[in-house]
């Protein structure tokens, strides 16, 4: 299924989409990206609301665009809207999907943070925040490692790894602004040097 499907979604379908995104939100421990397999199963295998190409492009665009990666959810809603009608429907789809994915998790995060602060003297709360410290710091380094090793061919990809390593060193040890390095990466990549 490569071509984008042509759809006629009813209100009940939009409601179903919204309810599913509410559920994805509560399942997304470690970020919404962890629910991608579930989203794929629902949107493509079950409902056939998106093409595979639309699904993958949504993720790629959100990752190369400024802002949180969660915006890929908006693009999925947007594409469902495009497949079903025009731009207003697409905008509605984007906002509906974003509201669905954010509402439950954000409410929970807000209430938990509030509770955690009111009980910040509790031994268990302090133990949690301190005990998780080394793990979440390490998780960041591991995430960067995984992103860098997505390009896995040593003969052609070594300049990319070098760029990642040099970036990490510069930002770690100096006060250079991040945007300079992003610009440098874009220029080096654009001219085919990495």
């Amino acid at each position: 299924m490569s071509a984008a499907p042509v759809l006629a979604l009813q209100w009940s379908d939009w409601l179903d989409l919204f309810m599913h995104y509410l559920a994805f939100s509560m399942m997304s421990v470690g970020g919404a990206i962890t629910t991608l397999p579930e989203m794929h199963r629902y949107l493509i295998d079950q409902q056939r609301w998106l093409s595979d190409a639309q699904f993958n492009t949504a993720i790629a665009i959100a990752q190369s665009s400024p802002g949180p990666n969660i915006l890929f959810v908006a693009l999925m809603g947007w594409n469902i809207g495009i497949n079903t009608g025009g731009m207003p429907t697409a905008l509605f789809g984007a906002l509906l999907a974003m509201t669905g994915i954010l509402l439950p998790s954000s409410t929970l995060a807000y209430l938990t943070a509030r509770w955690g602060h009111e009980n910040r003297q509790l031994r268990s709360v302090r133990a949690f925040k301190q005990g998780m410290g080394p793990i979440v710091i390490s998780l960041l380094i591991a995430t960067g490692w995984i992103l860098a090793s997505a390009h896995r061919n040593p003969t052609t990809d070594w300049p990319l790894w070098l760029l990642t390593a040099v970036t990490a060193l510069i930002i770690w040890r100096s006060k250079v602004h991040l945007l300079w390095l992003l610009a440098a990466g874009a220029i080096l990549g654009g001219f085919g040097l990495v």
Partner: protein, 196 residues
């Protein structure tokens, strides 16, 4: 309008957002710098430049944001907004992170159909992706120094760091299990070290 941190923490924090507008504008600017992930920018802008939180506070809040369902960066920023201005602060922080980038990503989706396969664009995105990976690694490396004050002690903290890195980056075990497993170890050890 006071956040749930009230006024007690003000003395410990070197600076803070002056208003909801300041919060919204700051997070919009921050979000617009976040190519391939916003977290590195959050640490850079809010801890190092604006000094709205210390490195140690950042690690503590990040632990909560990471373990909760939902996008981690959004959880972190709404917790930060809530801490200064309550619910309006949380909403302003989320709106700042999302509103303008949402418009941009939709425009980009329209442009992508046209220019997405241009070799210069493909190459530039490849280069920026490599830089983004380096930014996240550097953020983690910078935060390691916050572990010096951790009640676990530096040797235990570093051992947990290494174990987590091996499980996630090298063995590629699912993140949720590693968080639960190593998290339980870390929290139990910290609980024993802390005085009741």
């Amino acid at each position: 309008m006071t956040g749930y941190y009230g006024n007690t923490l003000k003395s410990n924090i070197r600076s803070q957002p002056s208003s909801l507008t300041d919060l919204f504008v700051s997070l919009t600017w921050l979000s617009l710098q976040g190519f391939g992930g916003v977290l590195a920018v959050v640490q850079h802008e809010l801890v190092e430049r604006k000094r709205w939180m210390t490195k140690e506070e950042f690690v503590e809040e990040w632990a909560v944001a990471q373990i909760m369902p939902g996008p981690n960066v959004i959880n972190l920023c709404l917790m930060l907004g809530g801490r200064y201005f309550g619910l309006p602060g949380a909403l302003a922080a989320m709106a700042g992170l999302l509103a303008i980038p949402l418009v941009l990503v939709l425009l980009l989706a329209l442009a992508y159909a046209q220019y997405g396969s241009h070799p210069y664009v493909v190459g530039a995105l490849r280069g920026m992706g490599a830089v983004a990976a380096g930014l996240i690694i550097a953020t983690g490396l910078k935060l390691v120094s916050a572990l010096k004050t951790n009640p676990l002690g530096l040797p235990v903290s570093i051992a947990l760091c290494l174990a987590c890195f091996v499980c996630i980056a090298l063995l590629r075990w699912p993140q949720a299990y590693v968080l639960l497993g190593l998290g339980a170890v870390g929290c139990t050890l910290a609980y024993r070290k802390l005085k009741p």
